[in-house]
């Protein structure tokens, strides 16, 4: 049994974690969601909140190497964790191969769902380097996009898989 730290309802506690390889800290109430913590405490506005009930996938980040809906995770759960967000995908002023493919194949329009999808797709390609279209569509079905009809994303992800295999 791990020790459970008791925090009062309105008490703000310091949460320290590693985000995109950089140690960061900020304050959170027990009920503060990780998505709000990333956005409004750490000013990482690239992670978006589309539904706050874990269905749309816009807020997806990596938490200790696994995918997590940051709107369904409390900030205090991220204490000591390693988090990956869209801001960490490429160096300043550059796009990585997946981001380049997204622009090349028209995989985004309004761009709001895109961050979560890039995070999921990156994680997916690391585990499934040679996916079929069906695999890609199944993975993407964890996300909602209202603009594109998904086709550009499917083609972008498949093209990255092909060029790296």
């Amino acid at each position: 049994m791990t020790d459970v730290k008791r925090i009062g309802r309105d008490e703000r506690v310091r949460v320290t974690c590693t985000v995109n390889g950089k140690r960061q800290s900020g304050f959170a109430e027990p009920r503060t969601l990780l998505s709000d913590f990333l956005r409004h405490e750490l000013y990482l506005y690239g992670t978006h909140v589309g539904c706050e009930h874990g269905v749309c996938g816009a807020c997806t980040v990596t938490l200790n190497g696994r995918l997590a809906r940051s709107c369904m995770t409390f900030a205090v759960q991220a204490e000591g964790a390693a988090i990956g967000t869209v801001e960490g995908l490429s160096d300043a002023g550059t796009l990585n191969a997946l981001q380049r493919a997204f622009t090349e194949f028209g995989a985004l329009q309004c761009g709001f769902c895109t961050a979560g999808i890039l995070i999921s797709a990156t994680h997916f390609l690391a585990k499934v380097p040679n996916p079929t279209e069906e695999d890609v569509r199944a993975m993407l079905s964890g996300h909602l996009c209202r603009c594109t009809g998904y086709e550009g994303m499917v083609r972008a992800i498949l093209s990255v898989a092909e060029s790296s295999s």
Binding site: E29, H53, L95, Q99, C110, T114, Y150
Partner: protein, 776 residues
């Protein structure tokens, strides 16, 4: 020729920013010292508010103010204005309900606006809202369109007995009556078009600010038309001149018509900001979106199509009941009355009459959504044609072919409103028939049947009106270093105009993308603007930009004439360079701009500077059109539906960027498919409670529900009504998809005895219909 000219599939300029988390959506914006607002919403579909006790909320930690309907009335604000005026059956003006941002005395839908709490944090405001005690007296409610006109139905407004807001008619009733009475065959059909939530991925948010010294408001919110929103909030609602309000809209996570006008929260934040002397931010969540944001479609129609013995369409009569919700927002009756010309389709039907009754219900307002009446009208027409084809035993493609408006007849005044300027309707269908291997369909149907599946194919020929009416503005400003700022009155939020307008300008002025800085979305920056809706931005905004660019060339040519010491008539302009004919003397546009910006080098007889603006008012709308063919397969054991193939041939006029066009068409088809296959906002018929209040209950298409769509464009019939021949592409996909898919679904089910099916064609409803049951 610049490297990124018109017609090239240039990747979007805005993508790197959006892909790296650099978008600036409404909740990404914050102002120093901002407080946070929360709206307390009605838990009842219809109730009298006997009293509101806010004492405990005001005393709660962090609370700065609590506002109720009485405060808003006392402050003297006006209602959200409705810009579309209609009449009752007796010719008197329709009843426009009061639409102040907080309600007094009565609430009229689940989610209606009761109180606004402002606190130091969003959570504090939300906690305090729970402490507000509202004494409600619940009343019976009416939510479903089919119930609104029933005898004994609850009136939503005492001022609108029987729930009728307006009656609107178009066409020649007598001509249609005569034609129907004497026709060889009349196909009659009842169709129900479901209510949909617009569901852009970004929930709405805004910040209201008030500068007490300048006595001026600023509203930060995602909107499709910052100038339009300023216009409808400033004088009608805030009661201030328009120059006392600035509206700023940055990136926006989808809009689709839903963010055309103002929302109650805009005024609430501006009001509280003035009262508190602090900026006030409001961020809505997804549940609030499903409860209270403008929704769309939602009508029921009875259709009669009269045909002669050869299958020629003689007359069409459509009677529609359109659900407006409890209040009218900015465009209120627009969708149900302003795009009915689509009922004429691509056909020669000479007599058309339509009668629309707009009704109130205990639901949030309906407003524009991708197509705004166009998909509804196309659905009504094309579903009826397929039904007629089945009744007469004529192939649906052949029946359409017998009724086409031939290209030689253009321009063509249709039987209802629309006057087509261009189009190759039969050619579009022929291309689609080939692409979909229509001729080989029966073999595929038999193969599917052998496998225990039901396969169907459906055609829709669609045409819509776009890019008409409202003008648009563009400004081009050079600076002393020779770089350019372009300011548009339209608003890009995913369509790619930030790139397309750069392409147009690069093409016309011979500039590189990097030399152009693009601005939009700020009513203080752009001189004027209407906004982005109705597939109008490229056509109307683009035309204004080209006019401004031509003014730039004219003035720069005058400068070049001075500089090169040659007559203006002898100077040609190509790819950004002015050249004196027959010589090697030349100068660039940028050099001319630099010379003009410097008062020391600008000629004394010319105004200093190279800055031009232009407005363009379309003389007539355009008519994007096309043919979509869908093929589906149904598993009769489970009712599960699969889109086996989808072909779209679209004529959107001149193609500016094929990559972006694909995105618009595919996205539109996906939204149409969503409505046909799964989307439906439902309220409990008894209690009026919202049953579809989350993405768990309101189902939207995902990547595994949709196939690859095959698309082709017909560029051989550019529109003569705007300088570039653009027709508009934003809505075409959605207009085509709804009828094509449902025609395919019903075609698959027809051998099992199903004549028609209402959307959404969920597995449950398909299965029930196949069992001969009522698919409700």
């Amino acid at each position: 020729m610049t490297k990124f000219g018109i017609g090239q599939g240039v990747p979007r300029w805005e993508d790197p920013r959006l892909l790296r988390g650099g978008g600036q959506y409404s909740d990404d914006l914050n102002q120093p010292g901002q407080a946070h607002g929360f709206v307390l919403r009605s838990p009842h579909a219809h109730a009298i508010i006997r009293s509101i006790d806010t004492r405990a909320a005001i005393a709660a930690p962090g609370v700065l103010s609590v506002h109720t309907g009485a405060d808003i009335v006392a402050a003297g604000y006006g209602s959200v204005p409705c810009l579309v005026a209609r009449e009752k059956a007796d010719g008197t003006p329709m009843f426009t309900p009061p639409n102040l941002p907080l309600r007094e005395g009565r609430v009229r839908y689940v989610g209606d606006y009761v109180a606004f709490v402002v606190a130091e944090s969003h959570d504090m405001a939300r906690d305090a809202a729970e402490l507000i005690e509202v004494d409600y007296e619940p009343l019976p409610s009416v939510t479903a369109t089919k119930d609104t006109l029933r005898d004994g139905a609850q009136d939503v407004w005492d001022e609108a007995p029987g729930n009728v807001c307006f009656v609107f008619e178009q066409g020649d009733a007598a001509l249609v009556d005569t034609a129907i009475q004497s026709a060889h065959h009349v196909t009659t059909l009842d169709l129900d078009i479901s209510r949909v939530a617009v569901a852009p991925m970004e929930p709405r948010a805004c910040i209201g600010e008030y500068d007490q010294f300048a006595e001026r408001y600023t509203l930060y919110t995602g909107t499709q038309g910052p100038h339009l929103v300023r216009q409808v909030i400033a004088e009608p609602m805030l009661r201030v001149p328009q120059n006392r309000l600035r509206v700023v809209s940055k990136d926006m996570g989808g809009a689709f018509g839903m963010r055309s006008g103002p929302y109650c929260e805009n005024l609430l934040c501006l009001h509280a900001a003035k009262e508190l002397g602090r900026p006030v931010k409001w961020v809505g969540d997804r549940a609030e979106h499903f409860m209270a944001d403008d929704q769309a479609r939602d009508n029921i129609s009875t259709i009669e199509l009269a045909l002669d013995e050869h299958g020629k369409f003689l007359a069409l009569r459509v009677k529609t009941v359109a659900n407006l919700g409890a209040y009218l927002t900015m465009f209120g009756p627009h969708s149900s009355t302003n795009n009915l010309g689509t009922l004429a389709g691509t056909y020669t039907t000479s007599a058309i009459f339509t009668h629309v009754t707009g009704v109130f219900s205990n639901t949030p307002s309906t407003g524009p959504y991708r197509g705004a009446g166009r998909p509804e009208a196309a659905y009504v027409l094309e579903r009826t044609i397929d039904t007629a084809a089945a009744e007469l035993g004529i192939d649906p493609a052949e029946l359409r072919r017998r009724n086409y408006i031939p290209e030689s007849a253009l321009p063509y005044q249709t039987g209802l409103v629309f006057n087509y300027d261009s189009g190759q309707f039969e050619k579009n269908m022929d291309t689609a028939l080939t692409m979909s291997d229509y001729a080989g369909f029966e073999v595929r149907r038999d193969t599917a049947k052998a496998d225990g599946k039901l396969r169907g194919i459906g055609i829709s020929n669609v045409i819509e009106q776009a890019a008409g009416g409202f003008p648009e503005w563009a400004e081009i400003r050079f600076d002393p270093s020779g770089t350019v700022t372009v300011v548009m009155g339209t608003h890009n939020h995913g369509q790619g105009h930030e790139t397309v307008f750069r392409q147009m300008l690069a093409d016309r002025l011979g500039l590189e993308f990097e030399q152009i800085y693009y601005q939009q979305g700020d009513s203080d920056h752009g001189m004027a603007g209407t906004g982005t809706f109705g597939s109008r931005s490229s056509g109307v905004g683009g035309a204004s930009l080209m006019m401004a660019a031509d003014k730039i060339i004219d003035k720069a040519r005058q400068m070049a004439s001075h500089h090169l010491e040659a007559a203006e008539d002898d100077i040609a302009f190509t790819d950004g360079v002015f050249t004196v004919a027959g010589t090697d003397k030349s100068t660039t546009l940028i050099e001319c701009a630099k010379l003009l910006q410097n008062f020391m080098t600008a000629p004394p007889d010319m105004d200093v500077g190279l800055n031009e603006w232009a407005s363009w008012r379309p003389p007539a709308p355009t008519y994007p059109n096309g043919c979509h063919i869908a093929e589906v397969e149904i598993d009769p054991q489970t009712g599960v539906l699969k889109i086996a193939n989808y072909v779209a041939v679209d004529d959107v006029g001149t193609v500016l960027n094929p990559l972006l066009l694909d995105g618009q068409l595919h996205g539109g088809i996906a939204q149409g498919a969503g409505q046909i296959m799964m989307e439906n906002v439902i309220w409990d018929r008894e209690s009026g409670q919202l049953n579809t209040g989350s993405f768990m209950d309101y189902v939207m298409p995902r990547a595994d529900n949709l196939p690859n769509f095959q698309s082709a464009v017909n560029e051989d019939a550019p529109s003569p009504t705007n300088p570039m021949g653009i027709k508009g592409a934003g809505e075409a996909g959605c207009v085509g998809a709804m009828p094509a898919l449902m025609n395919a679904i019903v075609d698959a089910m027809r051998p099992a005895g199903v004549r028609t099916l209402d959307m959404p064609a969920t597995p449950h409803r398909i299965w029930q219909a196949l069992q001969g049951g009522d698919a409700t």
